[in-house]
Symmetry: none
């Protein structure tokens, strides 16, 4: 099982920030370890302040349930099977931008949370982070 | 970039309170700076006590996302793209009454939050505050 | 019994800010009503950010016990009769800068909290606020 | 006035982690901007989990009062002038490891918080961070 180190986390985040710069959106990027504890956070200049909390919360949400936050969102709406789950665990995020990080054996070794743009932009950048592993 | 001073904040709030008196609603008005920190708060006699917190929270919400709180509300409903965002950042407000304050260059230099009446009345007073800049 | 209005509160705070400018310290000034609810807050440019919370907390502390916060501090130290009271009520402040506001009949009609300088400077400014009633 | 960027923050933190590796202590390093908002966080492998929160809280404390946390600690003890201040602002840290970051004009442009070792070790690493500016 791969373990995320400080150096790997910084590399994943940097890959995300490069894509964010390409699409010209200032992003907040958070990475948590396999236990959900914060390992890395970095904020681009002028990234929205409300997204500091959202980035960390997306990473935590994704790790806690081993799911992309967008997937959690689809099943947590008023007509979904786990409606209201956002109230648990101190507050979850149920829209895109949080992704589990899996190693080559398919084990979840952490999660990334990206916030600063639209949900679609956040997902694009989160994909770039996990692809850099 | 203009910086909101104590004197400017008081002037914006006073402009709002005058409109509030015209429509005979006692208001709470909060103004935060560009970083979301409280700069000014004033409460008219008999303004609803539950609205002290709401006014400050509207100002903070609006600053954190550089959006009117009413706009945030429209996109955070169950069928919207950022459903559930209110649980982030210690609790946001997703109905009208919070507005960003922008300088002549279009930069967000703070935000105002108004609470005490209906959402429409709160927005009317918040508009009066930002118009006084 | 006098009731603190929005206008009176602004006048008291302005009197405090003038003294603060004389001694060249940027202050945060909070005024609560007889029930301890926030009535007024104003922050001078460059006042320490940590003192936004302290000013409000001093005003609340002073109102809750009808005492100057410095007096509460003297009796709440480890060898005092109410050691540990700061843990109550969501967190109190036990050093100078909070003062009850009393009307001409000696009734407590609110309280002021000042924070931004040394405790002595904060008390000087709080005195100026209450003297302006 | 210099503004801390994502890249500068990463450079300061890396300088701290190098010293931490020299003394063989795994550290958590947090950097906040001039308004106290999180800009960077990084955790070395095996750093104590309880220190994730402490590092961020030290950075925030130091920024809020423009003081090293060790200095705040000296004046907030039972016989000091601001005894009990730790209960304000959502909880402060009053021992070493938090330092303001000042630019060449002496202006506070952010703060660093280090946690993972003894207070002396944390201060040593925080010094390395600020020296790298």
């Amino acid at each position: 099982m791969t373990t995320l180190s400080r150096e790997i986390a910084a590399r994943l985040a940097d890959a995300g920030h490069r894509v964010a710069e390409d699409i010209e959106v200032a992003m907040n990027i958070a990475i948590v370890d396999a236990a959900g504890h914060l390992l890395h956070f970095s904020r681009a200049h002028d990234a929205l302040l409300g997204c500091i909390d959202l980035a960390q919360r997306k990473a935590k949400t994704s790790l806690l349930f081993h799911l992309p936050t967008a997937t959690l969102g689809r099943i947590s709406r008023p007509d979904g099977p786990i409606y209201g789950i956002e109230w648990s665990n101190g507050g979850l995020v149920s829209f895109g931008g949080g992704l589990p990080i899996t190693d080559s054996d398919g084990r979840v070794i952490g999660a990334v949370g990206v916030s600063g743009g639209t949900a679609d932009q956040d997902v694009l950048v989160a994909d770039a982070c996990t692809a850099a592993l």
